[in-house]
């Protein structure tokens, strides 16, 4: 199935700067005038990476802290579910059968 690459996959492939650096070195070796274009590409790439990092959700914490928070939230949901279940299943008054 020819799946369309998702944004995430594209980002995974594109996040390395080495190919551009390699292209710049090649251009310098060849004394190619495209070196300025490649340099500008590197700058743009770095700037885009910065913007992408700024827009990424959930990275203001370290993975450990995030996992800790996740566990806390799961625990909260579990506790609250138990509490509600307890109250709902609690038969406070025994209704006498006629």
């Amino acid at each position: 199935m020819a799946a369309v690459p998702t944004k995430q996959e594209t980002e995974d492939e594109d996040c390395s700067l080495l190919p551009i650096v390699h292209d710049i070195i090649k251009c310098m070796d060849k004394d190619s005038p495209e070196v300025h274009q490649e340099l500008s590409k590197l700058k743009t790439k770095i700037q885009e990476a910065r913007e992408q990092i700024a827009a990424m959700p959930g990275i203001t914490l370290s993975p450990e802290e995030q996992q800790q928070q996740l566990q806390t939230l799961r625990e909260q949901v579990r506790t609250k579910n138990q509490l509600l279940q307890k109250y709902k299943s609690l038969c406070m008054f025994d209704i006498p059968k006629a």
Partner: protein, 252 residues
């Protein structure tokens, strides 16, 4: 590890800065070596190694950041779940409070009822005694006239003429309290149906006025004036003592 204390964002930006600096240094070094034709043994290799290392680190961190994004989504879902549960719990708490209020009121009312039951139990009177008392009241026709009551029959409910005379109004009009049989004669006398035997003779009634001579309109026919009668309270006494007689005479 000191690195793990920092957030992923800080680490990513730091590595990205390193990458920028290293790539610039490498390019500058290469450009410089090309123009000056000076060999740079080892130094460029070192920078390239560092650049590769940092780039690998950056890619690794990007993967971690993407994973954290997924975890963040999960956390948001969990937060929504927690909010929903909180609202459910608050709703339940509100309902429980209402139920508590209703039950407290019911308990208070029940306690009050128990108190009054206890009070009634302490001062209990047997039903036989109450029935006896009721019989005693009804036997004297104090509350209801007998079924076969006819005008002139002295058996009639209170207030009778005697009670009226004993009351404050009677005292105000200086009526004597020793009325006969304690009933109002007006209606019967006015109607002229009372047998002579039953015709009461009142001290305030003129002895020479016979029943048969009573005109149909009796307003001033009775000699209601007692010895100490004064004119100003005449109307009161008349209204008090001849109310039934006037209605019966009117009906006739």
């Amino acid at each position: 590890m000191a690195v793990s204390d920092r957030s992923t964002k800080e680490r990513l930006l730091s590595v990205l800065d390193d990458l920028e600096v290293l790539s610039r240094e490498l390019i500058e070094m290469l450009a410089l070596s090309r123009t000056q034709k000076l060999p740079q043994p080892g130094e460029d290799t070192q920078i390239v190694e560092l650049l590769v290392q940092r780039d690998a680190e950056f890619q690794e961190l990007m993967k971690v950041a993407l994973e954290q994004g997924k975890v963040h989504q999960e956390m948001q879902l969990l937060e929504k779940e927690v909010e929903k549960r909180d609202s459910d719990i608050q709703q339940l708490q509100k309902q429980l409070k209402e139920a508590e209020h209703i039950l407290a009121t019911a308990v208070y009312q029940a306690k009050e009822k128990l108190k009054s039951i206890e009070k009634a139990r302490k001062g209990s009177i047997s039903s036989e005694e109450i029935i006896k008392y009721a019989h005693r009241i009804s036997a004297s026709n104090a509350v209801c006239a007998p079924l076969n009551w006819v005008p002139g029959d002295p058996r009639r409910p209170y207030p009778t003429d005697l009670e009226m005379r004993s009351g404050m109004l009677g005292h105000m009009s200086n009526l004597p309290t020793n009325g006969v049989n304690g009933h109002l004669p007006g209606d019967a006398l006015a109607a002229g149906r009372l047998p002579d035997v039953l015709t009461p003779q009142y001290p305030w009634q003129s002895s020479d006025v016979s029943v048969g001579m009573l005109p149909p309109h009796h307003s001033n026919d009775f000699s209601l004036e007692p010895p100490g009668h004064n004119k100003e309270n005449e109307d009161d006494v008349e209204a008090m003592s001849t109310d039934s007689s006037s209605s019966s005479s009117d009906s006739d």
